[in-house]
């Protein structure tokens, strides 16, 4: 069905809300932002055409209030809602409520979301589509006895996983029979707490797998294509940290086979719009279906850079009922892209979150650098949401040059006032294993367990000299306040001194 959009409600915040506003604006669509009280001064409110308050800071009272968001879509005359990632993006009930109210949900139909959203049901769908998956159960385990039976059948080590899972919650590796009972109990209760469903299943544990995922796009006319893979093996506690495209471990033939499997699964589920099929890849180039993410991914920019396409534009066009403007054979990959997820956290102090005011922001630029940033100098990173500040992405003809370019850009990047993981990226990018693409999902945890010497000082004396000159210029300015200039204010002087003395 052909629809014409004029106005899109962006049901999200942070960098992805800004990225969606930009994509809409480029297609001539106006945007409605929604915001919580913690986000009144956020960039997405500043940049949208319209902005409506949702409620207090907690997500449950704001960005997760599907009822309120639908009501705002109706009252502002929005034709469609883009959910971004997180929040309501994989909530089939919300998608269904949109369908019922005649406001287009930019994503797959709620039926496809339900079929692929549960990991156990998705495993059944994978079987039906004839795609490889890890050995194990395809339904929730009814009892510990059933768990013992399945585990014995496939052999240890095994993984317990929550059917509704995500982000590593309700997940336990079990290396032998004796550990199963307690792991089963704790995985169930963690899943129950996190997702409101204690359904867990069990699968064979793949040793040192790579995380490889296939981006797909499907229109409402039965066309579905794959846009190549992303490698997301660099993870900490099951959270992606660095993503890249293409994967150094995926040959053209493997890419084709994984892409075909992903497309088969999407078609069998009646899938439309953008989606990602995640796989584990073992060292023998066997791939195993993991799960489907029925939304745009955080890491979609690396696919955009190597394919030359714009996934948000394509999502909007598909949602308007347009056919895909290309066929599988038109998709070619060129060059290499790597993304760093810049977080407000302190890698030198147990990765503690570091919310607070960004007092200084110097951002990189120039050739091959894209930044999808959600913050600005002066913004106070709130406590209430995840700590992602920005995505820094480098594109270059080769993987080695993309790494060199990222290192160059990280050298230009300064975020002051809060702690960030920028230093962690410098460490990973300099690591010999990462540079040789010897990575798997355990790579980063192993790296972090190693002692690492602090980075070499650029100059033994420059920091001390700089500190002294900052101090000297401060006192000079105070003395010379008769001739103020826009560069150095008396107030700033006082502030800097306080900073220096505290």
């Amino acid at each position: 069905m052909k629809r014409i959009f004029r106005k899109i409600l962006i049901a999200n915040r942070g960098e992805i809300a800004l990225r969606l506003i930009r994509g809409c604006r480029e297609l001539g669509l106006t945007t409605v932002a929604v915001y919580s009280d913690a986000d009144r001064a956020a960039l997405h409110v500043l940049e949208a055409d319209e902005a409506i308050r949702l409620g207090p800071a907690p997500a449950a009272e704001s960005y997760l209030r599907g009822d309120l968001i639908l009501e705002i879509a109706r009252s502002t005359g929005a034709d469609a809602i883009h959910p971004g990632y997180g929040f309501l993006s994989e909530n089939a009930d919300f998608a269904e409520a949109c369908e019922r109210s005649g406001i287009k949900f930019i994503g797959p139909p709620s039926a496809a979301m339900r079929m692929l959203g549960s990991k156990t049901r998705a495993r059944q769908a994978a079987d039906a589509a004839g795609m490889p998956r890890t050995p194990g159960s395809v339904q929730g385990l009814a009892s510990l006895a059933e768990a013992h039976e399945v585990a014995a059948g496939i052999g240890y080590p095994v993984m317990l996983k929550a059917a509704a899972g995500g982000g590593g919650k309700g997940m336990r590796a079990v290396s032998s029979e004796s550990e199963l009972a307690s792991a089963f109990a704790s995985a169930r209760s963690e899943a129950e707490r996190a997702f409101g469903s204690g359904e867990v299943y069990l699968e064979k544990l793949i040793e040192r797998p790579r995380h490889i995922e296939i981006q797909i796009l499907a229109d409402e006319h039965g066309n579905c294509v794959s846009l190549g893979e992303r490698e997301c093996s660099v993870q900490r506690r099951h959270q992606k940290v660095i993503e890249e495209a293409p994967s150094a471990a995926v040959s053209a033939d493997l890419r084709r086979r994984m892409g075909e499997a992903a497309v088969r699964l999407a078609k069998s589920a009646g899938y439309t719009n953008a989606g990602t099929v995640e796989f584990l890849l073992d060292s023998e180039e066997n791939f195993y279906f993991l799960e489907v993410n029925t939304r745009l991914q955080v890491e979609h920019p690396v696919t955009e850079l190597v394919t030359g396409l714009d996934l948000v534009h394509l999502q909007l066009r598909i949602a308007q009922g347009e056919p895909l403007p290309f066929a599988q054979d038109d998709i070619t990959l060129r060059g290499h892209a790597i993304e760093c997820r810049v977080y407000a956290e302190d890698p030198d102090n147990g990765f503690f979150p570091s919310p607070g005011r960004i007092t200084r922001l110097l951002q990189p630029g120039g050739p091959g650098i894209r930044e999808d940033c959600g913050v600005y100098e002066g913004w106070t990173v709130p406590l209430d949401y995840d700590p992602m500040l920005s995505k820094l992405i480098a594109y270059a003809p080769t993987r080695a040059m993309a790494i060199a370019r990222l290192e160059r850009a990280l050298g230009e990047y300064v975020i002051g006032g809060i702690r960030t993981n920028l230093g962690l990226f410098r460490r990973i990018l300099a690591d010999a294993d990462f540079r040789a693409a010897r990575i798997d999902t355990g790579y980063l945890d192993r790296l972090l367990a190693q002692q690492h010497p602090p980075p070499p000082a650029a100059h033994e004396d420059a920091p001390a000299i700089a500190a002294a000159i900052f101090e000297h210029s401060t006192s000079r300015v105070s003395a010379a306040s008769a001739a103020p200039s826009p560069q150095v204010s008396n107030w700033k002087t006082a502030a800097r001194r306080e900073g220096l003395r505290s």
């Binding site: 919310p355 607070g356 007092t359 002051g416 230093g423 410098r426 700089a466 002294a468 560069q487």
Partner: protein, 166 residues
């Protein structure tokens, strides 16, 4: 102008002699440098030392000031040459009671130790949640837990002393 500062764990003594146009002669630990310094904006300094160029960015956040220089972030502390007290207090605090401070604002989720407990260094003392993540705060040294002032559910601010290890 004489300046004494603690930077990267070292005490350094500098004497700045301003020349024309933002250049300085710097005496540092007995050596002498010609330095050209230009403040681009408050807190952003272009520093030329014997031809080498540095971008130095001053960070003044809630904690100690720091300099961002190339890929490193270096914390420093200006010492008042007339007062040795603060320096002694700062450098000599290794043996006494050590506080456990909240590294960021958040909510207390769980206590892992009780007041009076004898704990090991790096043993978890309490868990606070911020930004959708749970974070364990650990004992900075072996000792006895005292002054445990919070309970699960409490909201804490960055820098609050939550407990002391004696």
């Amino acid at each position: 102008m004489k300046i004494e500062l603690e930077i990267d764990g070292r005490l350094r003594k500098l004497d700045l002699h301003p020349q024309d146009n933002g250049s300085y002669t710097v005496e540092l630990d007995g050596r002498s440098f010609a330095v050209d310094a230009h403040l681009l904006r408050p807190g952003i300094l272009s520093l030329l030392i014997e031809g080498r160029a540095f971008r130095c960015v001053l960070e003044h956040g809630p904690a100690e000031p720091a300099i961002h220089l190339e890929t490193t972030r270096i914390i420093y502390r200006i010492e008042d040459p007339r007062s040795l007290k603060s320096r002694r207090a700062h450098l000599g605090a290794a043996d006494g009671p050590r506080p456990i401070k909240a590294p960021m604002p958040g909510r207390v989720v769980r206590l892992l130790a009780a007041a009076g407990d004898q704990v090991e260094a790096n043993q978890g003392i309490l868990v606070i949640e911020a930004m959708k993540m749970q974070n364990e705060l650990k004992a900075p040294k072996a000792g006895r837990v005292s002054g445990l002032r919070v309970a699960p559910g409490d909201t804490v601010s960055a820098g609050d002393v939550l407990a002391v290890i004696e």
